[in-house]
Symmetry: C2
Subunit: 199 residues, 2 copies
């Protein structure tokens, strides 16, 4: 005897989540079964709402709700700076710090010819277009360090070479509190290259 | 800036799953966002259906769909044997083996005075009632080995002491393929106690 059909459907849906296999999906499904009725209702509806309410801003690529981009429409930001990130999640990671209030631009990936991701697959043209249209003075590249991130950063810098736009990137180095012993060679190399005088 | 409200609602719901914290919930929510529209619809509806379609059989305590118990109503089972388990999930773990086709009885827990779980909190009276009503010849106790499982097994055996019902329990010992080195003392002790002659 297998699970009742409605239950198996739930298990199958839960298996769509990243890193969730049969056993974890079953555990999750049984836990949903034990929730109160209105919690289950909220849960199901919160998923259904994702389709109807959450969209991607056609300008900056950020998550937006009901066609109002929380970032593009915000007048309390430094509107002369665009912070360029790989994906929508990174925007909120940076926002949690809460210090830097800039505009954003989500590339939707990093250049990686090995994986077949070329500049035209990313939202780079749109970025260049925004720079003129929105009168941008500085681009902060906040991309994942590594080959793909560096390639993408260099590509964007090259495109803006003959303009007045300042192109900066976030600092790469040893994170606060990290044990040197467990850092990879590339990070240490960057930390050495980007050393600064102790004042 | 925080996540859009609909997105945050989804993250909050996902945090209700066992072992899922803020970061995992966010990762799951972004993965749901990337699913195709009809997959998202199926996912949401599979959760909502849990409320309306999945019930617990009032007789055996198993998961059932639309008030038809897949087990109690099945004529192709050995209807003189009840396999007693701790929870609804265990039923399907045993069913996956597919060899033993008995009726089931879900206790809804194990006796554990330390955690305030007494016999009257479990579906034990219902089990005793079923034995007469359904003309049961054998009870197989398939409970989690350990103090709680043993206490519960002994309690049920005692209740049925002066009846003709055979009370058996599944064998406890060294699992096939297990490395002896990593087994706990209780399992090894049981394996020694329950040793059998090599024939």
């Amino acid at each position: 005897m297998n699970y009742p059909k409605s239950f198996q459907n739930l298990v199958d849906s839960l298996k769509l989540l990243p890193g969730v296999g049969e056993k974890t999906a079953e555990r999750y499904a049984f836990s949903i079964l034990r929730l109160e009725n209105d919690k289950v209702k909220e849960f199901g509806e919160s998923i259904l709402n994702i389709n109807s309410k959450i969209t991607t801003c056609p300008n900056c690529g950020c998550l937006s709700e009901l066609n109002n981009c929380l970032f593009c429409d915000d007048k309390n930001r430094d509107n002369s700076i665009i912070c360029v990130v790989e994906n929508q999640k990174n925007v909120f990671i940076l926002e949690k710090i809460g210090v830097f209030k800039t505009k954003y631009h989500v590339l939707g990936g990093l250049i990686s010819p090995m994986d077949g991701i070329n500049p035209e697959d990313l939202s780079i043209n749109k970025l260049i277009e925004r720079i003129t249209k929105e009168n941008i003075k500085e681009i902060i590249l906040a991309l994942r360090p590594g080959i793909e991130g560096n390639t993408t950063s260099l590509y964007i810098r090259k495109l803006l070479e003959n303009t007045n736009v300042k192109v900066t990137q976030i600092a790469h180095g040893v994170p606060i509190g990290a044990d040197m012993e467990y850092l990879d060679a590339l990070t240490l190399e960057m930390a050495l290259e980007n050393r600064s005088e102790v004042s």
